[in-house]
Amino acid sequence: MISLRGISNRVLHAVDLDIRDGELLALVGPSGAGKTTLLNVAAGLVPYTGSVLFHNRPVDRLPPRRRDIGYVFQDLLLFPHLNVEQNLLLAMRRLGLNRTEKKERARRILESFRIDALRGRFPHELSGGEQQRVALARAVVARPKLLLLDEPFANLDFRTARYLRQELKKQQRRLGLTTLFVTHNLAEARELGDRIAVMQQGRVKQEGTIEEIWFQQELGEIGFLEKPNILTCSYAINLGNGLVEVGWAGTKLLVPDDGVSMERVAILPDEIYISTEKSMGPPINRFTGLVSDIIKSDGIVQVAVSVGDDILRVEMSPEHFLALNVTEGQQVHGILKLRALKGL
């Protein structure tokens, strides 16, 4: 376990955080919250008070090069004068291997990232996604005790980022890398993080699995994360095929089985689709309700739909809202995206 204990400096205020062995902890929060600073503290790149413990051993007096970390910076910092293989070889100097061993290791890691064909290329000859993978390969090639990732997918197009997120998760699992991952993208944090820590104004405000954090929010704690709809279930039957049937507002819903009791189910407002017409397709997770409120704010429209005794909050883009063309009091039909439902 990697532990940060009472970390303070110009940006951070008494931060406590544990990263368990082999887990990916996603650090989310608005810009300026101190996420990158916390990474730099773990790396030893900035001054701080408090203590950083690697497996119960304080590393505060160790310079960055002795901390055994891998760091993927937001701007990647691949050395422009070295080709892909040379970038990796330079990262292995601390291992004390001979050249053949190092080359073999570089080859294996490049193969596992499916970039071995690029080994002779220079960084400026690579696409954004390729550079990303090289930076990741360079950071993990010496098997660091802690992998630090600072918004690694922020500068990539949507499709490349989605593909690389899956790739990262796979590699992180395969290599069992203890990872601290900084992002301001909530969807990314939810998709990648085994656990999530929410930072705000230099403090860790919440920590836990996404379900735990949602539940804490329901209890009224402060949160930076978007607020999900929490649906209270009247009953739950495990169907045994990876799905659980629950009762809600007089209808039945199918929810992926997470091995939890399903007293409540959570779904984010942008994972709910509504329409004025009953749409085609299998009648799973459908509902019908009345529009009770419409709130337009910058770049997003929130539509409140009353279903039975519950109110669902639905979010959509202004363009989508225009196309939908609904007014208050109108009846709408909706779908709750099955995979977006989470049992609590």
């Binding site: 910076f73 422009p80 330079l90 100097r93 360079r138």
Partner: protein, 268 residues
């Protein structure tokens, strides 16, 4: 019509430079120059010039590159003052610089001590090296400082997180990223050292077959009316200078195309 007027000054300057070169070339008969080119005196001057200037550039690199690094990466009191002081040899009349070196290394001061150690600088080729270094080292300091300042320091941070020590980072990362800027400075310094006259004259003197570098040789031959020999030396100097300046230009071009992701800094 108006759009062509802007070209006139450029044409004037070009004509002026070409005319001066032509005057140098055609003032004496090509036969005389050709004969002088092969003379032992010219060949000696060429060899001495090359040897002393190469030594001066090597010395300038040894002193100037680390100095440039410190000026680029460390902050200390009176830095601007020191910076200006180190630039002074660039604008100093070389003759004056030479007089200063002569006084410092003459009998009374440092020269006496060095003489006891068996090192003689004044009126020897070693003195020419010293004089040229004095003039060339500020160029190397300036260019390497700019080159180091142009290296993104975050690359050095990345090196730290990859487990590299400070010397490893300097040799493996910083220096390779700065080397084109440093090389440009070294070539300019070399060109300057080759053409150096005033300081060399004062420190090393003007003795044929002993301390006469190419520029000193031009001076000696003009004084004694041997125009052919003087022009021959002048032409060698011009040819070397042209080649070196061209090298700097080509280097700058290759850098512009290659530095897609943050290479060395340009010489201002």
């Amino acid at each position: 019509m108006l759009r062509y007027i802007i070209w006139i000054p450029l044409v004037v300057v070009t004509l002026l430079v070409c005319s001066v070169l032509a005057a140098l070339l055609f003032h004496v008969s090509p036969g005389d120059v050709w004969q002088a080119l092969g003379s032992s005196e010219t060949r000696f001057a060429l060899r001495l010039s090359l040897a002393t200037s190469v030594a001066a550039v090597a010395l300038s690199l040894c002193l100037g590159v680390p100095s440039g690094y410190v000026l680029a990466r460390r902050r200390f009191p009176a830095q601007a003052l020191l910076d200006t002081l180190l630039d002074l040899p660039l604008v100093m009349t070389p003759l004056v610089a030479g007089i200063g070196i002569l006084f410092l290394f003459g009998r009374d001061w440092l020269g006496g001590t060095l003489a006891e150690l068996g090192v003689r600088l004044v009126f020897t080729p070693l003195g020419a090296v010293l004089a040229q270094t004095f003039i060339a080292v500020p160029i190397v300091i300036r260019s390497s400082r700019a080159a180091f300042e142009g290296v993104n320091r975050r690359f050095e941070l990345a090196g730290q997180t990859l487990g590299l020590s400070a010397p490893e980072i300097f040799v493996r990362i910083t220096l390779p990223l700065a080397w084109q800027g440093i090389l440009t400075g070294a070539i300019l310094a070399w060109a300057r050292a080759l053409g150096e006259f005033g300081a060399t004259l004062m420190v090393a003197g003007a003795t044929r077959f002993k301390t006469a570098t190419l520029p000193v040789s031009v001076y000696l031959n003009i004084s004694s009316g041997e125009l052919g020999a003087a022009i021959a030396c002048a032409w060698i100097l011009l040819a070397l200078g042209f080649v070196l300046l061209l090298a700097v230009k080509l280097l700058g071009r290759s850098r512009r195309t290659a530095s897609a992701s943050g290479g060395g800094g340009m010489l201002s």
